[in-house]
């Protein structure tokens, strides 16, 4: 029910009582501004945190082998454990349902790569196509390996951005042949990786091709696994332990032997990270709620003061025929209007400042401080509701006071 007359009356009151309006408006705007800034900076910290700890896939488990350190079941210590293709099959069959991806890997360091006059040494990794999900790498040109490459044992490779830069300079490597350790491979794709320079100097080739070329056997070095994202951090840790235990059993390794079969489960790191994130989130939440409470108290005090200050005016209005309802609605609409407007102004200033800060505080571990709009709008609504309630109680009191008492109030 829109009543233009009522709004004109309210606007006049607002306009003619600038100090009062400014006072309550300032409180709200300031509360929302602080809320936006603190929340934004908190989010900036969170962003930094996420970037630092989210280089590779957060869900990864790597398993590789070494020498046994303990004698077990009559076997000596110092025995070299070697994964084979059957271990891959075993893991897929036994644990495939809890995995998102699994890829075996053969890795050769310091493989010489030659293209025309240029040459350099790189780490050469032989993997399955789904290995890509384990790295945070992104294909820049061409494509990654596919199953057809593996079936045909094609001599194709995907190279890191820096490999391309080293060997080809400004030119594109796509479709060119590189000599890797004496064998010629065709470049089918390039990738970039935010994980850093070393991650961008890898060369990936089809697992089957490389396995045949280097040794012509069924041996492999390592498994890269990503676990089902539905697993909780604790479940994922248990899953990693189970994989290690099963493989140890299969290779007749003492369950307590940490050397022969090694498991690097990112979930363990994730647990620490997620605890720290939780703490960070709690701090942000605490700051946010604290600011809001301060704002709510501020607006409540101001509303009490405003109504007190207006007691006489309200008495006059009542003597002239204002009903209690019209008094209450006048005060409340005024309060809601100012709160909403001031809240919006605070939000605008806050987000502008955050945008202005941008990434310039990166050295203080604050990246892209920002606040989701719905959070700020939610905060403004909380303040509006608080302002309304805070306004309602004294307004109700003022409306019920006998006009004669209000008129005698000086």
């Amino acid at each position: 029910m829109f009543n233009l007359d009522r709004w004109i009356e309210i606007f006049q009151t607002i306009r003619k009582n600038k100090l009062r309006t400014a006072l309550s408006g300032f409180t709200i705007a300031f509360a929302i501004l602080l809320f936006t800034l603190l929340f934004g900076i908190g989010n900036g910290l969170k962003n930094t945190f996420e970037r630092e700890f989210a280089k590779d896939s957060m869900l990864s488990i790597y398993i590789w082998t070494g020498r046994t350190t303990k004698p077990f079941k009559g076997l000596q210590s110092g025995r070299e454990i070697q994964f084979k293709n059957e271990d891959y099959k075993y893991l897929v069959e036994e644990f495939g349902d809890k995995m998102q991806t699994i890829s075996p890997r053969i890795q050769r360091r310091n493989v010489q790569a030659v293209y025309k006059g240029e040459q350099n040494n790189y780490t050469f990794r032989a993997v399955y196509p789904n290995y890509l999900t384990l790295e945070s790498a992104e294909i820049e040109s061409g494509r990654f390996l596919n199953m057809l490459d593996l079936q045909k044992r094609s001599k194709v490779i995907v190279i890191g951005r820096l490999v391309e830069q080293d060997l080809f300079g400004q030119l594109s490597a796509l479709g060119k042949e590189i000599n890797l350790g004496g064998i010629s491979y065709k470049v089918i794709g390039t990738f970039s990786d935010p994980g850093g320079d070393s991650d961008e100097r890898y060369i990936y080739g089809p697992f089957t091709t490389v396995q045949r070329i280097y040794g012509n056997n069924d041996e492999l070095d390592e498994f890269g696994i990503t676990y089902d994202p539905k697993l909780s951090v604790d479940e994922a840790i248990m899953f990693g332990n189970l994989l290690g235990k099963s493989l140890k059993e299969k290779h007749s390794v003492d369950p307590r032997d940490q050397g022969a079969i090694r498991v690097n489960n990112y979930a363990e790191g994730n647990k620490q990270v997620s605890v720290m994130m939780l703490v960070l989130n709690l701090i942000i939440l605490f700051i946010g709620i604290g600011t809001l409470i301060a704002g709510v108290i501020g607006i409540s005090n101001i509303m009490v003061y405003i109504v007190k200050e207006r007691t006489k005016e309200l008495g006059i209005r009542k003597a002239l025929g204002a009903t209690p309802k019209s008094i209450i609605s006048m005060i409340m609409l005024e309060s809601i209007f100012i709160t909403a407007l001031a809240g919006y102004v605070g939000l605008l200033i806050g987000t502008t400042i955050l945008k202005f800060i941008g990434d310039s505080f990166e050295e203080y571990f604050i990246i892209n401080p920002s606040v989701e709009t719905y959070v700020v709008i939610g905060a403004t609504i909380v303040l509006i509701i608080a302002g309304t309630i805070a306004g309602y109680i004294p307004a109700k009191k003022a409306a019920s006071i006998k006009p004669i008492e209000a008129l005698n109030d000086d």
């Binding site: 007359d5 025929g321 006998k402």
Partner: protein, 230 residues
Amino acid sequence: MIKLQNLHKSYPMGKESLHVLKGLNLHIKEGEFVSIMGSSGSGKSTLLNIVGLLDEHDEGTYHLNGQLIEKLDEKKAAVLRNKFLGFIFQSFNLITYKNALENVALPLYYKGVNRKERQKIALEYLDKVGLKEWANHLPSELSGGQKQRVAIARALVTQPKVVLADEPTGALDSSTSHSVMELLKEINREGMTVFVITHEEDIAKETDRIVRLKDGVIISDELVNKKVKV
């Protein structure tokens, strides 16, 4: 117009209660110009508050314009005040941030008159009290007499049945007081019932009927001006 029978009012004062009005009987007919005289504490302000529906009586009956006033809720009282009563206060009680015209127009706002109409009527009444040129001035820019004229215009603007004036000249000097009383007389001559409360003998003498109040009872009720109404 106003008919009071055996009206009682007392105020609680701590554990005791102060009996202010002790069985008042008063009948004011339409078109009368009545003053209530009495020293402070005689109960005259209480009487005005009750008549003005700003306060409630404890016992007895009160008829306003033939309507029995009892157990009024705030809303009904507000509507009746707006419809039947115009107030003039000693301290003017203008809204400080509204100019003269807006002050006069305010009762019309609560009556539900539209904005244009309000402005027009309010200006007419300001003209009537001789302040048309001052329409856009704030109360702080007006003299005491001018403020009271604005208040009178405001009291009249809804065309009430009764104008209630509480010490209308209390804050004014004698010549200004006189001109304000002249204005009230003029309003009365036009047929309005005017009800003045004062403790000044001079002011009371300007009215047609003086009711003297002492300690919550009426001690005398006399017609003073012999002039006959046409």
